[in-house]
């Protein structure tokens, strides 16, 4: 016969571990948040822009899932526009980030001009493919 109090101890240990894991996750998120708050504003703007683009892409994919992919070219151009502009924004973020030693000598205006130009070309192609 197993003693009851031994059984109880095992359960408590497991709960404590779970609690520590959940509290560990909470601590991780809290630290991420504080670290993020330290990033400069312009980088935060770019991050927001990326999130916006991805969310738009997700909504388009959901729509396609609902109604079917009939004008497939339109779907592709819409999704690729969002994804493409997000990718370009990520590139901009990399180039503008001061902590990034690789692009130390690149002025941020130059990176911004590249971003604008590439976006314009991307959207020309997208508009052509939209049909």
């Amino acid at each position: 016969m197993i003693p009851v109090h031994l059984h109880f101890e095992e359960i408590e240990k497991k709960l404590r571990m779970a609690k520590s894991t959940s509290s560990d996750a909470q601590m991780l998120i809290r630290s991420l948040r504080t670290a993020y708050a330290a990033t400069p504003t312009n980088l935060k703007i770019i991050d927001l822009y990326v999130v916006y683009a991805i969310v738009t892409a997700v909504i388009q994919v959901v729509y396609m899932g609902v109604v079917g992919s009939f004008p497939f070219n339109s779907f592709l151009s819409g999704v690729l526009s969002c994804v493409g502009t997000a990718v370009l924004a990520v590139c901009l973020r990399i180039q503008v980030n001061k902590e990034n030693k690789e692009f130390k000598d690149l002025p941020p205006e130059r990176a911004y001009a590249d971003f604008i130009l590439c976006n314009l070309v991307l959207h020309l192609v997208i508009m052509n493919f939209l049909g």
Binding site: T41, K44, I45, L48, Y49, Y52, V55, T56, I59, Q60, Y63, V66, V67, G68, F70, P107, E109, R110, Y112, A113, I116, L120, H123, L124, M127, N128, L130
Partner: protein, 692 residues
Amino acid sequence: MARNLRLLGFLALIYASLSISGAAVIRPINEAHQSAALELFVPINGSFGSLEETYEALKTFQILGVEKGAEISHATCPVVVEKLGSSLSTSKDLFHALRVNSILGCQIDSRTFEDVASKLQALIKDANSLLDFHYAVGGLLYIKDQGINVILSDADGTFHSIKALSQSDGRWRYDSNSAESSTYAAGIALETIAGVVSLADRKLDQSKIGIVKNDIVKLFDSIKSYDDGTLYFDEKHVDASEYKGPLSTSASVVRGVTAFATVASGRLNIPSDKMLGLAKFFLSIGIPGSTKDLFNQIESLSCLKNNRVSIPLILSLPSTVLSLTSKDQLKVEVTTVFGSAAPPLTVSLVQAFHSDSKDTPVLENQELQFDSENTIHYLDIIPLKLDVGKYTLIFEISLHDPENVNTYATGGRTSLMSFVTGSIKIDKAEIGILESGAGGSETLQKLDLSRDSTLSLSANHLQKLRLSFQLITPLGHNFKPHQVFLKLRHETNVEHIFVMESSARQFKITLDFLGFVERFYYLSGKYKIELTVGDAAMENSFLRALGHIELDLPEPPEKAAHPPPQPVDPYLRFGPKQEISHIFRAPEKRPPKELSLAFLALTLLPFVGFLIGLMRLGVNLKGFPSSTVPAAFSMLFHAGIAAVLSLYVLFWLKLDLFTTLKALGFLGVLLVFVGHRTLSYHASTTAKLKSS
């Protein structure tokens, strides 16, 4: 198989018709030639063309007895007069003009004739080719006929010059330079020599005439023959430029030989059979289709009609088909080539052979009686008990006056074909269905084949159809016609033809359907029965519908042959065609409008979220340049970007790529310039801030 039988029957018919006319049917000249001449020789604007053609037309009409001179003398006589009067006319022109004048009789004074005669005499002295001699001598002959006294001064010399051109085989060359000799030239030479003899002032040496006679005999050695006994002359080599064809060549020789025979004393050693063969050749042409051929034919026959060698007598049958039913008589005509009366003679039928027994004659030595009213020799064939069929009749002519034997060419034995037709009796016709296997009960019913019947039989594939009958000629013998066919035709027009066999006494056929099941393509149903019996000697050939037979055949196995497709009415293809129903791609399913609009709104939501987020981050426009020029540039920069984006919207809505690219290029250049200024200004201000 049915098609093969049909082809066989057709070929049998063709063969039968060809064997009748193995030789062309020879009949003397009659009104058909007259009407043909009127059709062929048609004057245009009152003339027949050149003088040579005019002569041909006039001569043909003159021989056939048609009066045409008055019509064309109006247009032709001036030409004749002009040619005779002109000093530029060659001997050929003068010759043709004189020929035409001899028929038309234009008003020409004797002075013109004397001038022409002296010109021609001068030409003869200088002549060296055969044709030169021919035209000159011929012209002088025509002038002599007009009454002018014309004498050939150096007849011996002319004769020698012409004779020098002759060859050892009886042919002549056209002149001393040409290597080839020609039979046509021989005819011209003989005609010219005859003219020389008649124009000479004193009689020519007999030895010279004898030499020419030998030449003629040698020339006749080269005569050619066809299978039906007609004889003709042709050139040895068929040279394209000078070749004139057997008709023209034979006509030329006949002209020359008959002209020479007229002026030469004594007889020409030409067998009468050859003259008869030539006459048959000209007659066997029938009615020629061209003017030259008709002229050659008619003129040669008129030369042969009264020639001094031997006058051909033509034996012909006015009708080659004799009917026993209408009790026809065998009629034979013996005339000259132009159909005029022959001297008194008797025709006898030496032998008559039936086509079945070519060795034993059916008749021998029957003399034909003469009907002087219609100038026809006839024989009653009913008492001779001739049966129906095809006969080869051999006739012989015997002249009453023994002196005529040398004058006329009768041709020994003449063989002609004839048909005797009659009404065939059909007897003991029976038809019925038998059970297969011997000893089956025979329920045959009698059939009357003199008219269509409407029998209604039925059989299955285990039974047989039997049909038999007898064919009896008017004399009571068994008759075997060319065609005895039984045809079964299905409702779907698929036909099967069977040939009936003949035994000694009757015709019969037994169709064992068991063996024919596959041949009939396993088609059951109603078949129409038709019987065909036909022959050239049968006056009552028939195609009888006998009725129907309902055939019950087994089901076709899978690999059975299909019946051949029946010919479709060829006019059906001009009718309307089948309607085509096009298959279009089904249009895609589109979502309902409200759903799409809802999602459109949903897509715009993140933008709103983006703007809200920007405001939360504290975005401001503090970095915007304050001084005017940089501010303007910044404004332009943003305006440029907005312009490009609106251009894209326009591109999507209605523009095409080329206009867009053009505008984009323009805007892009502007944007690059402005952007560069703005961004470099911004960079410099940031650098200033940093350094400070």
